[in-house]
């Protein structure tokens, strides 16, 4: 640009500065100084009205520099688009280069369109009147036409009532097959756990009681059951007897201190995967606790899964455990309440 400051300079810093200033002034040059011999700003103010009342205005820019810039940007954009095709053929999955090429192509076109819209084509401010939306007489006519359709009908109330009934009945009939989408809600009580089912890990290996160490938790699934059913996952832990304060009716649910709970949070069905166990003096006062990583409901297994923090509306369901003659872990019964989130007819203890 002709008016970038500084004469010939060999200093790199000065050049960099000159480029920055050039970019900064380029926009101003483009806007204010149309180049070329035959391009005086052909501005024409439309006649009529005081300046403040009628802001209508039309300017024909005649900006040859901007026209050339638009053409250059379009060609550059086309080049980037070709580059995209080339990258696609040669490298195929190079996400970064593909994205960059497409973004640059689109950005060049965007710049071309915006510069053309602001500096090349006629700039116009125009005034349009707004329609009056309400046309009283037309509205009255509509009412009249519609109501004229009921002329000569004497039992209007009966017909209206009967059509309402027919419409509702047909809509109801049309919607009824939606019920085939799923089974009755009582299917939500399902759980794969029954008395005698062995605990296995996600590779199918049976858990022995001796596998369960204190201060860690294990994910168990029902042997032979569907691992992906909601109630399948169990949290299995071992606690020292001093930490177990189960209610009287659950006294034999924790042989050797081994306890099992549903892994599915009774708040919103996320799998619980955080286990806090006091390992030194500083945490000795906190009882062992499970925490759900979704909304941080926290349950203490020593108290039978009681909720101590967070939004869950009920305790973590506990499954009675037994150790068979081979020393393996089995369910001593099913859950006596529903696993998973609460609902209208959820079974609670």
């Amino acid at each position: 640009m002709s008016d970038s400051p500084g004469g010939p300079s060999r200093s790199l810093l000065a050049r960099a500065l000159a480029i920055l200033v050039t970019i900064g002034t380029a926009w101003r040059v483009l806007r204010r100084k149309p180049l070329g011999p035959e391009a005086p700003p052909a501005s024409s103010r439309e006649p009529g009205g005081g300046a403040n009342d009628d802001p209508s205005e039309r300017t024909v820019p005649g900006n040859r520099l901007a026209e050339n810039l638009v053409a250059a940007l379009l060609v550059l954009g086309a080049g980037c688009a070709f580059a995209f095709i080339a990258i696609y053929i040669v490298l195929q999955t190079n996400t970064q280069l593909l994205g960059l090429a497409m973004a640059l192509a689109l950005a060049c076109l965007a710049a071309a369109a915006i510069i053309a819209g602001k500096l090349v084509v006629p700039q116009e401010t125009s005034v349009e009147p707004r329609d009056r939306l309400l046309d009283e007489s037309a509205a009255a006519e509509v009412v009249e036409i519609v109501e004229a359709g009921g002329e000569g009908i004497s039992r209007r109330g009966l017909l209206t009532g009967a059509s309402g009934l027919a419409g509702a009945a047909v809509l109801g009939a049309a919607a009824a097959p939606l019920a085939s989408l799923g089974p009755p809600a009582r299917s939500l009580h399902a759980s794969p756990w029954r008395r005698g089912i062995r605990f296995v890990d996600d590779q199918g290996h049976v858990y022995a009681a001796a596998d369960i160490q204190i201060a860690s938790f294990y994910t168990a699934l029902p042997e032979g059951g569907d691992a992906d059913s909601l109630g399948a996952g169990l949290l299995v832990i071992r606690l020292p007897q001093s930490m177990i304060h189960l209610p009287a009716d659950r006294r034999d649910w924790a042989p050797e201190g081994i306890m099992a709970f549903s892994k599915i949070c009774p708040h919103a069905a996320c799998a619980i995967n955080l286990y806090r166990y006091p390992l030194d003096e500083s945490t000795a006062d906190d009882p062992p606790a499970f925490t759900c990583p979704c909304h941080y409901s926290t349950f203490t297994p020593g108290d039978g899964g009681r909720l101590v923090f967070g939004p869950a509306g009920r305790a973590l369901p506990q499954l009675p455990v037994m150790i068979d003659s081979d020393g393996n872990l089995r369910a001593a019964g099913g859950f006596d309440e529903d696993i998973g989130p609460s609902w209208w007819s959820v079974r609670r203890t």
Binding site: A103, L106, L188, G233, A268, A271, P293, F309, W344
Partner: protein, 494 residues
């Protein structure tokens, strides 16, 4: 005119005559070409949403051609080594294949995901603009309801979209959605059994249902509503800010052809350019790192896409209240944060135009916009309401704050259970007094210069160039700031 120009002109004229003899659309074309767009930067937010939607449709069609909506269990033997041999759904495998095998697949997937985030963000910002400038008033209230409905649908659409992948993160999201659906009083259980075809994670057909919702039902609804939204705008013309020559009964701005059309096409291309740039360079939802979903698995620090954050925050903030009446769990806990909270937010937004009409008694037509300060009470209520939602949104990130800054999580939750009610009240009073002060002084909140500019002349002496007095002098309110009084259709309020 050059020979080429003459040839183009003849062709164009012939083509137009061809369609005119058959369709006769010239009056419509003329109306569209001369339609006037008032210029204000904030009017672009809605356009950004529209153009993001176009990018979403284009990239979405590409993705649909590869996606397989099946929960059928398969063993992975694809290009990504770390998941070799893992059991996963066919749906998840197909998205892994889009990511690793389909040329440009990851680019398109990331552009699609970014575009969804930008789409909803621009709708929300557009809504904020509409609210604080009073653009929802008569005659635009119907279009405001359509816009709110589109926001609602867009959030559902986004959630459905990332849930289709069936990776561990999206599976956890669906589990929570199941909990929220179950929590709806009385009908929740049966409703969830219908949606999922039984107990979560549902039958094999669940993902084909979700896909139809994501690629057909909601997009068709959105496209229809976008059409209605634009048609209504065209019928009523854009609203405009007060200014020289701008009145209730006119609209001042740039006609569509040629300048506005070019600028708007430029915006479309710019939106697409930015989406491709971030889609190519900034990783989003790296599903191969999450692994496949199984109900017994979960991960820590899970954060949903941003537009679900307000619901996560509400679910986390809610105390463990779950009333049981006669053996029935009447209001399961996720209902409060996951269903009632969004219901209240959207309910207030839907009800607002009618509420404002009722409390101000202003039933006139308004085509001139308010500046936020012009209505201090509305602005203060809006700011308080917005802060309420934003706080709950931010509470969704308290676990990250605990992780990064070690502020105890439980303490933060206990604090915000109170703070969420106190802070919006403070915001209300601060905003109202701020708006009133601005209304009195007529200064610009950002441009209002309060200092003194001092320069040093060639002689080294400091010289005062500009003082606060000569820049913050109260200006006359621009013509037409008394809204509603020069409209031909106005009737005095009873």
């Amino acid at each position: 005119m050059s020979p080429i120009g003459r040839a183009v002109h003849r062709r164009f004229e012939r083509g137009l005559r061809y369609t005119e003899q058959r369709l006769g659309g010239a009056p419509v074309y003329k109306y569209l070409l001369r339609y006037v767009f008032p210029d204000h930067w904030s009017f672009l937010l809605g356009e950004i949403a529209l153009y993001s939607f176009l990018v979403l449709v284009a990239t979405g069609i590409f993705l649909t051609l590869y996606y397989i909506p099946s929960a059928h269990e398969v063993t992975y033997h694809g290009a990504y080594p770390l998941l070799q041999g893992q059991q996963m759904s066919e749906a998840y495998r197909s998205v892994l294949d889009i990511t690793f095998n389909v040329p440009a697949g990851l680019l398109i997937r990331q552009v699609h995901h970014w575009a969804a985030d930008v789409f909803i963000a621009s709708i929300v910002l557009h809504l904020v603009r509409i609210f604080f400038t009073g653009a929802y008033r008569k005659p635009r209230d119907i279009n405001y309801y359509i816009g709110l409905t589109m926001l609602l649908l867009a959030i559902l659409e986004g959630f459905a979209g990332y849930s289709l992948v069936d990776d561990l993160l999206s599976g956890m999201g669906l589990a929570i959605a199941y909990g929220v659906a179950l929590s709806i009083p009385f009908i929740g259980g049966q409703l969830s059994a219908l949606i999922w075809g039984g107990q979560f994670p549902g039958t094999d057909s669940f993902f084909s249902r979700l896909e139809i919702v994501h690629v057909l039902l909601i997009p068709a609804a959105l496209a229809t509503l976008i059409g209605a939204h634009l048609a209504i705008i065209m019928r009523q013309h854009h609203s405009q800010f007060p200014g020289p020559g701008r009145k209730e009964r006119n609209v001042v701005g740039t006609p569509t052809w040629p300048a506005y059309a070019l600028r708007s096409i430029g915006l479309l291309l710019a939106v697409a350019a930015v989406l491709f740039l971030i889609g190519g360079l900034i990783q989003i939802n790296p599903i191969w790192q999450w692994g496949p979903y199984h109900p017994y698995l979960s991960e820590n620090g899970a954060q949903p896409d941003w537009y679900i954050g307000w619901l996560i925050g509400a679910l986390r903030l809610m105390p463990n209240f779950e009333p049981v009446v006669a053996g029935h769990t009447v209001l399961p806990n996720p209902f409060w944060g996951g269903a009632l909270f969004p219901l209240v937010v959207f309910g207030v937004l839907y009800a607002w135009p009618a509420l404002e009409r009722r409390f101000t008694g202003d039933r006139r037509r308004h085509d001139l916009l308010d500046r936020p300060r012009d209505r201090p009470t509305r602005t203060a209520i809006g700011a308080a309401f917005l802060s309420w939602v934003v706080i709950i949104f931010a509470v969704g990130s308290t676990d990250r704050l605990f992780f990064r800054l070690h502020i105890p999580y439980t303490a933060m939750i206990h604090f915000w259970r109170g703070g969420v009610w106190v802070l919006p009240v403070i915001v209300f009073f601060i905003t109202r007094s701020g708006a009133r002060a601005l209304k009195r002084s007529e200064t610009h909140p950002l441009r209002g210069w309060q200092g003194t500019i001092v320069t040093r002349g060639p002689d080294g002496e400091p010289r005062i160039l500009q003082t606060a007095e000569n820049t913050t002098a109260p200006r006359e309110p621009p013509a037409g700031t008394v809204p509603g009084h020069d409209h031909p259709e106005q009737k005095p309020t009873p």
